[in-house]
Symmetry: C2
C-alpha cells in the first residue's frame, strides 16, 4: 500500500543492495534521514527496523546504523525465503510448470478436519501436483482444502494459480502460514516423480496457510528434491 514507512524502506533497501550505502559502513543518522524523507523519527525507525529484521542493517544505541556485511551464500540450490508464502511461484525467476498427478474429493479425516477447522467427514479436495522447471521435477506437492470455503477449484485453476484464484476470484486475502521443515527418507512416490534414488532424501515442508480472518484454508505437504532446495532465515534477537 502507500504507507510512507514502506516506501522509505524500499528506497533504503535499494541503496544497500546497490552499494550506494557500502557494506560495513555507517549510514546517516535518523535525524538526517528524517529530513531527507520528510518524516518523523518514529516513521523512520519503522522503516529501518524492517531492514534490521532482514539482516541488511544493524543498529547500536550511542553509535549509529551500519550496513551488514553481505556474505556470498552462493549455493546451487533454489533459496526459499522465510517470508514467501507460496512455495515456488515467487521465489524462482523462471516460470514453473505444474503437472496434476491426482485431483479428487475426500471426506476429511480427523487430523485434516482439525487442521482446517472443519468437521470430520466434511468434503475436501485432495490435490497432488508435480512442479517442474525446464521440465525437471522439483517438488511434489500434496494439498488439502475445504470445498465449502474454497469452492470452484478446477483443473484450469490448478494449472494457473490457486492463490490468484483465492485472492482475485474469491476475493479473500491470504495472510500468513505456519511451516514445519524436516528431512525425510524418500518414498516410492518421490522415486517415481522426483527421479530420486533410494538413498536420496527429500526436504519436506508441511504448511498450514491462513486467510486474514484467521481461518486456515490450506494444508499442504511439499516434498522437495534435497539437492535443489534450501531454506533461508535471518533471525534477530529481541
Amino acid at each position: 500500500m502507500g504507507s510512507k514507512y514502506l516506501s522509505i524502506y524500499e528506497t533504503l533497501k535499494k541503496r544497500i543492495t546497490n552499494h550506494d550505502y557500502p557494506a560495513n559502513q555507517q549510514i546517516p543518522n535518523e535525524i538526517s534521514l528524517c529530513q531527507e524523507f520528510d518524516c518523523s523519527r518514529m516513521t523512520m525507525k519503522k522503516a529501518l527496523d524492517l531492514l534490521v529484521q532482514e539482516g541488511l542493517l544493524y543498529r547500536k544505541r550511542g553509535q549509529g546504523s551500519f550496513v551488514m556485511s553481505q556474505t556470498g551464500q552462493s549455493d546451487k540450490r533454489i533459496q526459499l525465503q522465510e517470508r514467501e508464502l507460496s512455495g515456488l511461484t515467487r521465489s524462482s525467476k523462471k516460470h514453473p510448470t505444474s503437472k496434476i498427478i491426482e485431483f479428487k474429493l475426500l471426506f476429511a479425516d480427523k487430523k485434516k478436519a482439525n487442521i482446517l477447522n472443519i468437521n470430520e467427514n466434511d468434503p475436501i479436495y485432495k490435490i497432488v501436483r508435480l512442479r517442474l522447471i525446464n521440465n525437471e521435477p522439483y517438488v511434489l506437492e500434496e494439498t488439502y482444502m475445504s470445498t465449502t470455503l474454497i469452492p470452484g477449484i478446477t483443473e484450469e485453476v490448478l494449472n494457473h494459480s490457486v492463490y490468484d484464484y483465492i485472492e482475485n476470484t474469491l476475493g479473500y486475502r491470504i495472510a500468513s502460514a505456519q511451516k514445519t521443515t524436516r528431512a525425510d527418507v524418500s518414498n516410492d512416490m518421490d522415486h517415481k516423480y522426483l527421479n530420486l534414488k533410494d538413498i536420496e532424501p527429500v526436504l519436506e515442508v508441511e504448511q498450514i496457510a491462513y486467510l486474514d480472518n484467521g481461518i486456515p484454508f490450506e494444508y499442504s505437504i511439499s516434498r522437495h528434491r534435497y539437492d535443489l532446495f534450501e531454506f533461508n532465515i535471518f533471525s534477530v534477537r529481541r
Copy 2:
C-alpha cells in the same frame, strides 16, 4: 530490557496461552487495553504486533483483534523455533550433554575467511562436537571461530557453553544469525556418530552468527538426525 511494550506483550501472551483469551475470540480493542495497561496506542500496537508475528493473534482494521486457532502440531520431533539463535541449548527442556570429537587450530581457507570476515590463513578454531540427550546422539556440530576475535576457548568452555563464555566472559553481545536449512544424504561421520543407516538422511543447518557490532563470529554446520528434529516458522505477509 524493562520496556513497557515487552512486558505488555508477555502478559498478553500468557493470557492467550492460558486461554484467558479463548481461541478464535476477539480480544479487547486497543483503547481498552491502553487503559488497562496505562499506555499509548503506539505502545500497545507494538506489543500486539509481536503477537501477530508469532501467529498468536490476527488483526483486521474495522473489525478487531482475534486469537488465532492453535493447531496441535504434535510431532515427536524436537521443534526448533526460528527465533532460537543457539541450536539446542534453549529449545530443549532436558539438559543436553556434549562430547568433543575434534578441537584444533587451522589456517582459515578462503571460504571461511570470507564468511568470518578475516584474512585467508588467519588462525581459527575447528570444533566438532556431538550433542546428546539422555546419551542419545542428536546433532553433530562443526564450528569455526576466529581465535583473535574469540580468544581463550578451551575444552572446559566447550563443555559448558560457548555462548555464555562469549557474552559473560568476553562481554560481547550475540545479536543475530543467518541460517540455511537443507536435507542431505548422511555421510560416514553421520553414520558413526549419529548412528544413522546409509539410507537415513540428515537435516543440515548452516549458520553464520553475528555480534551486535555486525561482526560474524561463528560459522557452523549442524547435522541433525532427520527423525528427531524439525524447524518451525510462522510467516506473516506485510
